[in-house]
Each structure stands twice: as C-alpha cells, then as structure tokens.
C-alpha cells in the first residue's frame, strides 16, 4: 500500500500523528460525555423577553402551559421528542404541544437564541418562558416540570 511517506520519515510522521489522534479521541470523549449529560435537562428560566404571542405560535396558548418544540430536518432526536411531548400532553390536562420548524422561523429562533434542535421551551399560561430543554427531554422530567409550573 502506498502510504505517502518513505520508511524513515514515516516513523516521525507516525509519532506526530499518533499524538494528534490521541488528542482528538480524548477531546471527543470529553465533549461527548458532557454532551450526553447536559442534553435533555430541563433548566428553569425566567425570560420575560421570550414571551410568545399566539400569532408567533401559530395557534392559541395552552390553558395552563405550552411546550414549544423547535425541530429541524436533520435532527434524529426531534422525532423522539415529539412523541414524548405528545404522550405527555395527552395525559396532563390544559397543556399544549406545538412543534415549530426552526429553519422557517429564523427570526423567532434568533430572538430566543436557539442554537440546536430539538429545543423545547416551556411557556406558562401567559406565554412567558419559564424553562427550556436542549436535546430530547425524559418523559418523567417533563411531567415534573409541568407539575411545578402548575403549583405556581
């Protein structure tokens, strides 16, 4: 096989490359671990700027709460998130799930500072953002967050 270097400088080359390879694998492992831990967590937010109107939402707000899910075409966990949230709203009364295509709503995406999909924004009954989950959230965590919201 043609390796692109002579026997002599291949040894030096392989040393440098092995170092690069090790750094890439370490960095990717660290990032991947952080990513796995942080994605899907529901974080409380008190964002008055991120109030939604029903025009922006494309439909009326839920009587108690609204889960606004931003999705995109090249997004694997968006489908799973959609199924989870649909399942939750079918069980919890007065909560609505609205899925928005991020790509065709870029102004909204910018205003809310959404960087990746899926991002789910929890709105209270007035349309104010109270929590946010980046990545696919767990079903039980969504239910917990909604319970807390309804106690306020």
């Amino acid at each position: 096989m043609q390796l692109g270097c002579t026997q002599l400088d291949c040894e030096n080359l392989a040393m440098d490359s092995a170092l690069v390879l090790a750094i890439v694998i370490l960095a990717a492992t660290a990032y991947g671990t952080w990513h796995k831990i942080s994605r899907g967590k529901i974080k409380a937010r008190n964002n008055h700027d991120a109030a939604f109107t029903s025009e922006e939402l494309g439909s009326a707000l839920g009587a108690q709460a609204t889960l606004v899910q931003f999705s995109s075409a090249f997004c694997q966990p968006c489908r799973a998130t959609s199924l989870i949230l649909e399942q939750v709203v079918s069980k919890v009364p007065d909560v609505k799930h609205v899925e928005i295509d991020a790509e065709s709503n870029l102004e909204l995406v910018r205003r809310l500072n959404i960087l990746s999909t899926p991002t789910t924004i929890f709105l209270d009954r007035t349309g104010k953002e109270v929590a946010r989950a980046v990545g696919a959230p767990k079903r039980d965590q969504v239910i917990n967050a909604l319970n807390q919201l309804q106690q306020i």
Binding site: A28, Y31, G32, A73, S116
Partner: protein, 147 residues
C-alpha cells in the same frame, strides 16, 4: 412536517465506527488511498442515501443479517446530512495531501474523525448541533434580535 423515510438505526452507527477506524488509520499514516476510499464512502452515502452507499451496502449484506433483536428505526435525513458534511471534510483532507498542505489535511481529518467517533460511540447527531447554526449564518442579513 411530512413523514420521513425510516431506516435501520444501527446501520449509521456501525458505519460511523468503520469510518472512525479508516480515518484514524489515514491520519496515522497520511494515506491518500484511505482518504480517497473514505471520500467515496461519504459521497456515495450523501448522493445515493446512506443505505445505498458503500458502507450501507456492506452493512445490509454482511452485518444486518447477523444482528438479532428488535430493529430500531430512524429518519434517513440526519445520517445523509452527516455524510454530506463528511464529504466536504474528506475533500479538504484530500486537497491538503494533494497540495502538500499538511495542517489542512490534519485539521480536516481530525474534525471528520471526531464527528465519526461521537456519532459511532455517543450516538451524536451532527445535524442537530450544526445545521441550525449553518442556516442562521447563511441568513444573517435578516434583522437580528439578540437577547
């Protein structure tokens, strides 16, 4: 959104692990042959969809019949998007080798390698993390409301 075409979700994971080993070896020995091979694998997956690409055909012929248990399904578009990004990086890596620009080869291969590693071992979704940012950058002329 319209119903997406679904494929066996294990395929892209295994393809990503194969890609990781091919690119790792290519990085170690600066092999033009391996980069060309991987570029072909990426490009065929991007153009003809992942199951019709080189690795996809190998997966369906050799690996899939031997796997047992329920078949998880996934949308075909995210792995196809990842293959397109891979095609771009493999092309850059090849250009780096062809024109003797070593840093270009090293950086482009490293990014593709990291993405394949994350995809294969962490089930990382490249499209989720990068596509919206790409669209936002492409359309940055529209009014910007930063919070």
């Amino acid at each position: 959104m319209s119903a997406p075409q679904l494929i066996d979700a294990r395929g892209p994971r295994i393809m990503a692990i194969v890609t990781f080993f091919v690119l790792g070896l290519a990085l170690l020995v600066h092999s033009t042959l391996l980069i060309v091979w991987q570029l072909l694998a990426f490009a065929t997956a991007a153009i003809f969809t992942p199951p019709q690409g080189i690795y996809g055909r190998f997966y369906r012929a050799v690996i899939q019949p031997r796997l047992k248990g329920p078949v998880p399904s996934e949308d075909i578009r995210p792995p196809r998007f990842a293959a397109l990004v891979g095609t771009v990086f493999a092309t850059l890596a090849l250009a780096g080798l062809a024109f003797g620009i070593k840093p270009l080869f090293t950086i482009a291969t490293s990014f593709a390698l990291a993405a394949a590693f994350l995809n294969g071992f962490f089930n990382y979704c490249l499209g989720c993390e990068t596509y919206l940012l790409f669209v936002r950058l492409r359309n940055r002329h529209t009014p910007d409301y930063e919070i």
